[in-house]
Amino acid sequence: MVQQLSLFSAIDDGSYNLFLATMTTSFGTAPIIYSNLSTIWKPDPNYEISTVNVKNQLVEQTRIKVSKELPLEVIPNIDDKIIDYNLIPQLNTDNLPVDHTFIDKIIDNQLDTPINNNNLVEHKSFNTTSNNWAFSISDIPAAGSTRKVSMQTITESIILNTSGKDSCLRKFMNELYYILDYQYITIGVKFHLKHNIILELYKIWDVKSRKQITKNGYLIKAYTNVNKSTDLDQINRGEQQLLNLQRDLQGYVDLKIPDRKSMDSRMQ
């Protein structure tokens, strides 16, 4: 069980270039563009699922997050652009920058079938998109008013592939009595800072409504992951590093602990 320590903030669209320049000069690391697809699954309401296990312990129903990389090459008309941090402000930011049918095809493992959109048919990156997924369940972040950083337990395994007749992620999740709840894509830049601290600056689009959730701005997330929840030394060190970063950016960007309820994946 991984402990994720994190702090959050936000900036508006206009501050993007200045923030990148500030980070680059202050910490001496370059921004790296990244993007991913997150699919959130919930227990199938057609089934009666108990909330206790055989030992009569309470096990709350949680959503499962299954996510993977999203090749930026699938963005329509990307060919005449360079894929780096300058790309993000150029994306048509209100609407989902990728074809939503493509997302369905990833989940249904049908990427080898042609897609009816001339922008997408030719993309070689389809074939390089593997069937690897990160499968994770997160607890609600730890409570406590004296906390200085958010601390969340994440349990994760890696899916390498699916097998069986017409197998795909969706089919297997359905076998686990889970159905798709919602999906979103994240496109952003990340900075690798010292001591395994990552700072991400990103936008999120909801796949179903095809709208940007982070409209007019960017979310900032600074975090580190500690392998064992019992490794208090490492947790304290991670917390201290995050607080140092918070102090360094103070007055410019205020990194804060988010409301833990906003990071709660349990079913209501």
Partner: protein, 249 residues
Amino acid sequence: MDKATPATLTEFKDAVSSSIISIESNWALEFRTYRSQVKKKVNNNNNSSTNKEEEQNESDRNNVLYSLAFPQRKKNVLIKNKIAIVTTTSLDVDNENTNPNTNSVRRLIDSCSSAWYPETIDNIISNKLSNMWIQRQLIKGDAGESFITQDGLLIKCCNLFSSFGFKGLLIELKEAPPANNAHTATIDDNSHFTICVKTILDILKTIGIKTYKMSNDTLNEDAMSPTGSNIDENIELCNLAYQYVNVLD
């Protein structure tokens, strides 16, 4: 193999020892079955009693989840209703995989999809999803051995134990990889393999083993080529796991 004893492994090894040309790595196996305690919500509007019975049978057959752990490969296969997934606990697991199309576990970290320290899927099922799944049985095979015979056959064998004691002897037969395969295939590989399997069955007969279960099924009815050279190693592992399930369940 049902009527075997722990000593059968030694007898079997003695019987094939004359044809062994090399001894390969050790291996181990863990086989778990989980039964779901999830029930389909009953739709009261149009349900005759026969329908209910059918549904009951249906769900009995379908609510078992099999998990096979391969500790040496750091991989784990889950199978339910002939749909399987391969999972791993290692982000470097595909490093030896030279196929650029599938070597992309690292990309999960590069794209900020992963939280860096994956664990086994069994951990997740038996902790986070323990309200849905009850572990019914655990069969373990430790200190498995593997060797290659003159005929180019890779034999893996292992004694299996459950919590009640000895469970049986597991033998896996596979064509050896070409690099250490002394047998030069002049005839169709598939029929050669069939002959090899028959030889092993004869050996078993001579040491007095008459009851056994055998499976050569695959999950994708279509996909398996006899040589298996082009098949994705993960898919192959799923097929192997499925064969184990057929034999062990």
